[in-house]
Every structure is written in C-alpha cells, then in structure tokens.
C-alpha cells in the first residue's frame, strides 16, 4: 500500500498548496482565465487587507438613543457600555447577549469565538504555542496560524469592534456646548478654491481654554510645528488616535500616559491658524473619521448618567458616564437593543482627491487640516 500512501501524500500537498498559497491562486486564476470565469485577488492570500465596515457601524451607533446601560458586573469583565453598543452596531443587537454568554470576562476572546468558533481559535492558539509564540491567546499572536479566511473574519470582527468601542468611549475634549466652527468632511477650501477633506472639527474656544484627553492613552506626540502649532496626539489603543492642535501650552510629554479627562493642553492660536480654536481630529485604523457623532454619543451619555440638576463637565462623559449606581440585569443591552437603522453621517465615502493642505499625517495619526474659526481671516494658503 506504499504506492497509494505516496499518492495520497502527493495529492494532499498539491491540494493544500492549490488552496492556501499565492502560487495556487495564480494557478487558479490561470484556470479561470482559460474557462472565462472571474479571477480572484492573489494578494488575498495575505492577511493585511481586511475590509473596513466601520462607517456604517459608526452611523448605527450614532443613531442609537444612548450607550448601553452600565453594569458593574459586566464592566469588570471588560464588557463596558461602549463595547456593548459597538457590538450591537457592528454585529447586530442579537450578538451582544450571545457574545457575553461566550465569554463574560474576555470580550476579545468572545468576539473571536463568535467570528470563527472555538475549534478554530483553539487550534490556532495551540499551534502558536507549538511554534514558541509568547502570549498565544491574543489574536495578533495566533492569527497567522488560522486559515486566511478565518484570519480575515477574526480580524474584521475583533479589531473593528474593539476600535469602535474605544472610539465610543471617548469624551469631548472641551465643553460640548462649544460651537463647532468648521465641521468634518469635504469642503471647498477657502483659499485654494478646490474641494478638500477637512479631517477633524474646529471648535471655537478662547485662548487658554483647558483641553482634556478624550480618553486614556499614551501620548504619541506632543510638540510644536509651523503647521499645527502646539499639538498633542494621543494613542488610545485598538488603532484609535485623537489629535488636538493649535494649543497655547502643552501639559504632557511624548511617551507619557494620560488618563481620560486629563488636562493635556491649553487651546490657542499657534501654527497655521488665524483665529483661536481647537482642531480636534480622530482616526480609526489610520482613517480619519468624523468626531461629530462621538460628541453626540458622549453628550447623550452625560444626559442619561449625570444626576439631576448637574450640568455636564467640559470633558463630558469622563466622570459622569462611568459611575452609575443602578445596575440593570446582567446582559442588559438597552442601548444596543434599540439601535435604529443606520443613518448617513459625514464620513467621506469617495476616494479623497488629495490629502488635506497643511497636513500632518501618519498611518495611524489624524491628518490635521487647519481651518480658521468662523469669522476669522483665512489661514495662509499653503499653495501660495
């Protein structure tokens, strides 16, 4: 039976290479070309290109009446209201209870279990341990030991839901009542006359106004340049970064940790700015997103969580959202359960024509476009 065993072995190796490698994908495309059927993307054999579905999820979360109600038991396990709302928005309201039932103490694990199942996850962790990978329980550590399809599904659910939850948990850096003088989105540049993407919001606040960290994180940048003036970029983890520009004085240093609501900067009029304002930018997975809906969410959370008669603080939900004594039944998902259908928001959908003028950008940091506060003279034209 040695002949049959060898033939089985050859067949198994050839089948595996056909299905799992780019060489196999090229061969499949060759067959598809001959048979005149649709070809496939050879690069799909790699795990880096995961399609983003966040725009619709942000819209869904923004349209929800409020965040899910805090629950001390669930919060301790990491199932914060923001995370439950994010799950509801991204995966559907039914998924929240299902995921908590899967793992009440490790949301990341529950999300992955939901995406690919216990068997596939267990296999990947075991394989990662066999290969000597440390911290094999983490998706980023064992993702390469999943099949390409499983890896994509897991990355899409786990990474994107955690990103969205982190963003939903952000507060507004100044008084939420402060006027937004220039919104996020494509607009005709005041001096260039061309359509450009404004990758944040400009908030009209006087010089010296305290600017607070929208969430806890690490200071990725705290310095001054001629474009953004004195500015701070905070990495909140899970691919979420916030930026605060045109400050008058910085109160944090690069590499330091900041808590949510911590005073990081005084607003000002430095850099390429011709009027006192704060530029607040937000990026998820390196892509600029409109902070506006997150202000709405933060404001609603303040209204629902703050004691009667107490107004919201400048940095909104930081102190008022978390400590809510009334604990609803375990697994309650009121906020997410009432998620209405998605509504359009100002997230750019088309490909940007060009990066924004006077931009500071990194793959993960917000690209910051300066625009003056309403009524102030236009910023100097970078194009001359």
């Amino acid at each position: 039976m040695k002949g049959w065993a060898d033939l089985l072995l050859c067949t198994a190796v050839l089948c595996a290479a056909w299905v799992r490698t780019p060489v196999g994908a090229i061969a499949r495309n060759g067959v598809a070309w001959v048979r005149d059927t649709p070809t496939e993307d050879v690069l799909a054999s790699f795990r880096t290109a995961v399609p983003e579905r966040l725009e619709r999820s942000i819209a869904t979360a923004a349209a929800a009446p409020e965040l899910a109600t805090p629950d001390p038991l669930l919060d301790r396990g990491g199932w914060t209201p923001a995370l439950r709302t994010a799950v509801g928005a991204h995966l559907g309201t039914d998924a929240v209870a299902t995921l908590i039932a899967l793992d009440a103490h490790d949301p990341g694990a529950a999300l992955e279990l939901h995406a690919i199942g216990a068997e596939a996850r267990g296999r990947a962790i075991r394989r990662a341990r066999s290969a000597g990978v440390s911290d094999a329980e983490r998706l980023s550590s064992h993702a390469r030991y999943l099949s390409a399809d499983e890896a994509r599904r897991a990355e899409e659910e786990v990474t994107q839901v955690l990103s969205l939850a982190t963003a939903l948990d952000l507060a507004w850096p100044v008084d939420p009542e402060a006027r937004v003088s220039s919104a996020f989105g494509y607009r005709t540049h005041p001096t260039l006359g061309t359509r450009k993407l404004h990758e944040g919001v400009d908030i009209a606040v006087p010089i010296g106004t305290s600017v607070h960290a929208a969430g806890a994180g690490r200071v990725a940048r705290a310095r001054e340049d001629r474009v953004n003036g004195k500015h701070v970029i905070i990495d909140h983890g899970h691919r979420v970064r916030s930026a605060y520009c045109h400050g008058d004085a910085l109160h944090v240093a690069k590499g330091g940790r900041v808590g949510r609501g911590e005073h990081v900067m005084d607003s000002g009029n430095t850099g390429r700015s011709s009027g006192p304002h704060l530029h607040f930018g937000l990026r998820i997975g390196g892509r600029p997103v409109d902070p506006g809906p997150f202000r709405e969410i933060a404001a609603r959370a303040v209204v629902t969580a703050a004691p009667a008669g107490q107004s919201s603080t400048p940095h909104s939900g930081a102190e008022t959202r978390a400590p809510t004594p009334a604990a609803p039944p375990r697994g309650a998902t009121q906020g997410a359960a009432n998620v209405p259908p998605a509504v359009p928001i100002a997230v750019p959908t088309g490909a940007p024509e060009t990066p924004a003028p006077s931009a500071v950008s990194t793959p993960d940091t917000p690209r910051i476009e300066v625009s003056p506060v309403a009524g102030a003279p236009a910023a100097p034209d970078p194009a001359g």
Binding site: D6, C10, V13, A49, A131, G132, S358, T362, P382, A383
Partner: protein, 222 residues
C-alpha cells in the same frame, strides 16, 4: 492480491511522477508561511517610514511648496501611499522569488546524485551554507502548513491533530528529505566564498522566518 499489488504499483508510479511537483508544492506552502510573517514585518516597516517622513519632511516640504508656488501635495506624497497593498505586494514578490530559488536548488539536480560530507565541504560558500538552512526551515514549515490544512478540514476529534501531524511528518520524510538531499548534493565547488550571496539576501530572511514561525520544534524545547 495480484490486482491490489498492480494497483499499488500504478499508484506508486503516478506518485513518483508527481513527486517533484509535490516537492515544489511543499516548498510553496513553507515559503508562504514565512512570507505571511514577512508581510507583517514589511507593513510595520512601511508604516514606520511613513511616520518618519511625516515627522521630518512634511513641514519643510509644505514650506518649500509655498516658496516654489506649487500645490503642497505635489511635494508631500507620502501620506496617501497605500501601505497595506504595497507590503502584501512586496511579500508576494519575495515569496515568488524565494519559491523559484529554493525550488531551483533541487529541481535542476539529477536524481541519484550522491550526498557526501566531503563533497559538501568542498562546496562551502555563503550559498552552500544558507540554502540548506533556509530550505530545511521552509520544508519543515511546509510540512506543518500541510498538517494545519489537514486539521482544518478533518472532522473535529481527538485523533484529528495526530492524523494531521502524521500526514505532515510523512510529507517531510517522503518529500522534504529527498528534496533537501538533492539540493545539498547539487552544491558545486565555488569560485569564490561569496558565491550565492545574491540569492542569499532573499532566502535567508525567508529561512529565518520559516524556522521562527513555521517550525513547531521550538515549542518542544524546554
């Protein structure tokens, strides 16, 4: 019994004819496991470059554009570079080149060439050291990749991981080992010790990543 023996001989003949193709497939599986990790590394590198350019070049280039009177984004091009497809594309190119080099190392050797230590010692050069190292790592990674693929399709049971592991081990013994022997036996005495330096630049990182992330042997060490 005679029919069984004949069918076995026939299957053995087909397997023998397909053996070289299967060895190439085993290499492709191993190289892809390494290239997938390479994709992660290249992406991190490109993101770092983009960050560096942002930190050190954006301000000065915007100012230069102002002086030259041109649109700033004609000079500041790096923010819009799509790094993810570039890293995947680079990893793909590296993978295909590594596939070709490693397959070529044993494909062009006639079967039956004797592998001896004295013959290998005379052939010592950079290429003669790196190629066997990288090819061994890639073949082990390929065998493990096959085991993982088999485990993914087998019905979940206690036996499945063992059966899949056995399949991987068998592929290593029946196909990997002969391919490696052929590659090493093919080494010719070099003109200079630097012979094979160019291909080494491609196959060494692939070999290191294959050993580091595609060979479960590390998990068995204390």
């Amino acid at each position: 019994m005679r029919i069984l023996a004949a069918s076995d001989r026939f299957a053995g003949g087909v397997a023998k004819a397909a053996a070289t193709l299967a060895q190439m497939a085993l290499v492709a599986l191993g190289v892809h496991l390494a290239a997938d990790t390479m994709d992660d590394r290249v992406l991190t590198l490109l993101l770092g470059c983009q960050s560096w350019a942002d930190a050190h070049l954006t301000g000065s280039h915007v100012a230069l554009a102002e002086k030259l009177g041109v649109a700033w984004d004609t000079l500041v091009w790096w923010p819009s570079v799509p790094v993810a497809p570039i890293s995947a594309g680079l990893a793909l190119v590296l993978e295909l080149v590594a596939d070709a080099l490693l397959v070529g190392s044993f494909l062009l050797t006639p079967r039956g060439t004797e592998l001896t230590w004295s013959r290998y010692r005379r052939a010592l050069s950079v290429g003669a050291i790196v190629t066997p190292f990288a090819l061994a790592g890639v073949l082990v990674a390929g065998a493990w990749s096959l085991a993982m693929a088999a485990e993914d399709v087998l019905p979940h049971s206690v036996v499945a991981p063992w059966a899949a592991g056995l399949l991987g081990l068998a592929s290593l013994v029946r196909m990997g080992a002969p391919a490696w022997s052929r590659a090493v036996a093919a080494m010719e005495p070099p003109r200079r010790w630097t012979d094979g330096l160019g291909p080494t630049l491609v196959i060494l990182p692939v070999g290191i990543l294959a050993w580091a992330h595609g060979a479960p042997v590390w998990g068995w060490l204390p």
